[in-house]
Each structure stands twice: as C-alpha cells, then as structure tokens.
Symmetry: C2
Subunit: 329 residues, 2 copies
DNA sequence: CTGAAAGCGCTAACAC
DNA sequence: GTGTTAGCGCTTTCAG
C-alpha cells in the first residue's frame, strides 16, 4: 500500500485538506454530509494520520519516555504494566529505556530522550541521577520519579516509605528482645538499601542500640546464595532483611541447608512482594509494595502534569503492608 | 530553556541551516573551521536535533514497536532486555505495547503502531494474530515474530521448537516405561501449550499410544495451585509438563503437600527457565529457552531487514537445552 | 462551514 | 564548501 496522506483523502473526498484535518480531529464545525464523504474516503484509502507529522505541527508527541533499570524485571514488569495500562487510557505511547552500566551510557539515554521530544519522562531508577535529571528539567520535560524523592528540583514523584517500613519492623523485633537484625546488601538497589539501613538504624538508636549488621556480599561471588551458604556456617541472626525476593530466597535456602531452620531459629523477610513469595516454601514474608500501582499512579500524575490539571500533591506516598507468611514467626 | 532549532544554530554560527544539518549528520564535506564554529554554537545553545522533524523529513523514525503480552513479565522481561540491548547498539528506540484482553483492544494497538510510523515491529505474542499481522504487512511494516512462525505472510521470525522439545522428552520417558505423562493447561500461552501437546502426541503415536492427559484448570479457580491441590488428592502421573515456572512450582507444592514426593513418585518439568527454577526447592528441571537471545536475535534481524542487508534466513531457530535439576530423576 | 496559506524543524537536491 | 529552496504530512489562523 502506497503511503496515503491527508492530501489524497482530500482529493478523494473533493474537499481541502483542512476539512479532512477537521474530521479526523473531531472538530464539530463540519457539515454532516461533508464529514460522511471524508470518512468514506478515509475508509476507502485506508488512511491513518501520520503521528510524526502531527507531532511536528502540534509540538507534542503524545508519547512519554519510561526509564527503568535493566535488572530485576519482576517488579519492574509490574510497574511497566501499571504504567502502560493507564497510558493506554490516556492514549499515550511509551518509549522504553533501560539503563545498563556506565555513566556514559546513561547520558546517551538522556540525549535520546531529549531528541525524541517526548512529552514527559517517568523514571524508575534506584540510582538517583541528579545531574541527568537536571539536564532533563532544563529542557522542560515534566518528570515523574518512581521510588525516590527529589524535592529539590520540584520534580513529581510516587514512592513508598520503606525507611519507615524498616523502622517499624525493627522496632517491633527490638521490643521482643530480638535485637540481632541484619540487612543484606543489594548492589542493584543501593538507594533502597540505604533507606532500609536508615530505618533500622533509627529504631536502634531510639533504643540506645547501635546497628551494624550489614551483610556485604563480596563482589567476587556470583550470587548471594553462594556467599550466604558459607556465611551461615558460623553466623546467624534473629532477623534478616533483604530487598528483593530472590535474595531473601537465597538466604532461606542457605540457612536451611546449614541447619538453621527458618523461621524457627532465624526469620527472614524481604521488601519486594512478587508472586513467588507465596509460591516458595516456606512462604516468604514481605512488605507488599504495590508495584503495579506505583507505575499506574506515576503515569496518572504525568497526565495531570501534561494537561495542566491543578492537583494537590506532587509527591504521593503509597502505603505498604507487611504480609506475614512462613518465613517469620 | 527556549526551544532551540537548527535555525538558531545557523544564526549563531553565521552559516546556513544546511551546513548545520551537515555537521550534525557528520557529512564530510564541511570545512574544519566551519564545523568547529557550528559545533561551538550547538554547544553554546544546547541544541539537540528534533527527531520528530528528522523523522518527517527522512520518512523514518528509527524506532521500532515491540508488542508483548501483558502477563508473565519474567521471561518477557528477558526478551525485552535482549531486544533493548541490541536496539541500543543500532540506535533504535523502542515503543512498548502490551496486549491486554479483548480483540478490540488489539486493533487499537495496531492502529497506534501504524499511526506512529515506526520503522518496524517485533511481536512476541502467544496468540497468533493473523488478521492484525495482515493489516500491518499491508502498511509495509517489516515484522519479526518471536516465538511463533507464520511463514505464509513471509514475516521473519525467531523461535524455539518446543514441539520437538516435548517430543524428545516424551519419547525418552515412554522408552523408560513411564507413559503417564500429563500437560498442564496454560490459558495465557495457548499457542505454546498446543505445541507441547503436538509434540507429546507425536511421541505417543509413534509408540502406538494415545495421549490424553491434559490437565485443564477450570476457569473458576484463581490459581493453578488451588486446583492442583485438589487434583493430586486422587490423581498422579509419572511426569507433569508445564509451560511456565510458576505453574510447575504450583504443581510441585501441590504434589508434595499431598504426599506425592517430587521427583521420587512424580516428576515435574517446565519449559521456561527463569532464575527461580534454581532457587526453589526442589530445584526445577526445565528447558533452557534463551529468552534474552530471542529478543536480541529478533532485534538484530529487524536491523537487517531495515538496512536491506541480504541475509540467509528469515526464520531462525534457536536451540533449547534440557537442564535437569531436582524435580526430575 | 470550508479553503488558502503559513509554519512546525529538518533533509536533500540543486545552485553558486 | 556552502547557501537556497522545495518538500515531509499535518494543524491552524485567517479569509471568504
């Protein structure tokens, strides 16, 4: 099929292209019979408006860029799903970018986003990309951050206060006398881990205790499991906190295989909640972070920003819910 | 920052916009000092070419559309990662679309894709969307299919022959006298399941047997696990084949909890290989389907189609590898 | 209610 | 080497 333009339709319908433009945009100032003629022509020719040309003329693309980390596509997938679902409702297209390693690369992505003239960008990325965001705001892109806040630049965000989650959790265990709490490092989510540490530390300090059980996985280990299998040979804790399900799972397996029954002698929880948490044995206790909602709310916010709707909050906190399963008592 | 165009750069550098165009496109016919002047102006003004305008002028967008199912983002995530990584290399942007339920919706997606004038579309979707693909080819979009073949329309594809995988597997078990093989239904992957059934059926027929153990999960059940917990109360098989890891996992849990030890009294395998397969206990045997590669190869193929490179095959078969773990003997 | 024409930002002949 | 100009396909005043 040859490229058919608005011009061809105009010819076919014996009207001017302005009129065709009016009917495809649903402007009411077209007579009924003219509209019918145009619609017939559109149908006959199989005409579909060229979004690129529209984008150029209108100075907007109705597409927004989504930046996510390359790794851990489980909850990332949920976020994408949520975001895409509401994007669909508001007729926005999504350009997906992943950030692999290397500062250079991230700059290229930013450059790409700028060139592509998307209407806005949603970023779910654990590493706070301060400078890159700065660059983006310079080019007037509305930005919505998922997961972390950056109030300074007046960017909008949707997040869950996992620092508080960790704080409350630690408080509870401390009050029960279970003070040997450890957090497992997660290189891919350093920002999140820092929040966890801050939360637990706060709980400890309020009880005149000092928190220092940070389990660092040496870079040489290919997997947390590999390291933990050794670690638990002579160490154990009351409670282990991990960020991702897979790390908690590694801990459970490593513990059990070292004859440290979970949860009897050691409890383990993770922050992220995926369907696997309920499928593994013992079932994994976790905070239900509403990943899908994070994406959905972020996109909804973006539409508000784009449509200049006045709205209450630029920073929306979504709540978490601790979901006890079998890896805690 | 005000919108800065090629025109502003031209003014600033005291050259014509044609020259600016030449330097941003790296054409060699620009004198060194002019180039330097232009580059300085670009830098000073913070100019970034408008990809939309370029797209309109060049009739190509250097973005390709990727269509994936909404569900099961685990291996989908891998595919996306693979695709994105090679897209990055060749400087293509990715527009991500998910197909939720409803035939109406899928048509809208197609329409969107057509309007967005992407250079090509990669589809990973279990439901063979014959008519929709037809529509796409009508508009001259190069198409690469992931996972299933559709030779009729001369569309390119990358796939794994899971029918043969199932066939070989069944053959092996039959020869050992383990003939009670069952396949678990998977509504979200009907095409894949059909291939599995065909493969097993073939193996059975070649042995003068009839295959009929198809475990259908009634729609009323919220999860396979819920149904299987009951199912295994009075039924068992030699081997259970599932498509996704989560279903196999459900089967393992349901079996074990009904005192059918896996793999001792019943073996279970799944087709899809995710990291969870190695993390659950017992570890889940599976076919290693190279999800990442499926995405990567598909995108590579797309670039070949777009650059008109002559190439050997429009249909690339990737190999699978059976990876025995603990859920099989 | 409809048409003519300018402009969105850039590329690519075609001149000079 | 560099500038001029005609599109690319569409929207949007501004006339009529």
């Amino acid at each position: 099929m040859k490229r058919v333009t608005i011009y061809d339709v105009a010819n076919e319908a014996k009207v001017s292209l302005a009129t065709v433009s009016r009917v495809i945009n649903g402007l009411e100032i077209v007579r009924e019979d003219t509209r019918a003629r145009v619609e017939l022509a559109i149908e006959k020719l199989g005409y579909k408006p060229n979004a690129i040309a529209q984008g150029l003329a209108l100075q907007k693309t109705t597409t927004i860029a989504l930046v996510v980390p390359e790794a851990s596509f489980n909850y990332t997938g949920q976020i994408i799903n949520g975001l895409l679902d509401v994007a669909k409702i508001y007729k926005y297209n999504i350009m997906l970018h992943t950030t692999t390693e290397g500062i250079l690369e991230i700059n290229e992505i930013i450059e790409n986003i700028i060139k592509s003239r998307v209407d806005g960008v949603v970023i779910f990325n654990d590493k706070l990309l301060y400078n890159e965001l700065k660059e983006l705001t310079k080019y007037q892109f509305p930005i919505v951050l998922i997961g972390n806040r950056m109030s300074e630049n007046n960017v909008a965000c949707v997040y869950v206060d996992i620092e508080r989650a960790a704080y409350e959790l630690a408080l509870q265990y401390i009050s029960r006398g279970q003070k040997d709490i450890a957090i497992i490092q997660d290189r891919k989510n350093s920002y999140a881990i820092n929040q966890l540490i801050r939360g637990v530390t706060r709980a400890f300090e309020e009880n005149q205790l000092k928190f220092e059980q940070y389990i660092e996985i040496p870079a040489m280990y290919r997997s947390s499991y590999e390291f933990l299998s050794n670690y638990f040979k002579d160490k154990r804790h009351d409670l282990i906190i991990a960020y991702r399900d897979s790390q908690a799972l590694a801990a459970i397996n490593a513990a059990n295989e070292n004859n440290i029954p979970v949860p009897k002698e050691m409890e383990i929880i993770c922050v992220i909640d995926t369907k696997y948490n309920a499928m593994v044995r013992p079932r994994l206790s976790s905070f239900s972070i509403p990943s899908y909602d994070l994406g959905a709310v972020a996109m909804r916010m973006m539409t508000k920003l784009l449509h200049q709707e006045v709205f209450e909050e630029r920073e929306i906190e979504l709540s978490y819910l601790f979901t006890p399963r079998q890896s805690t008592k």
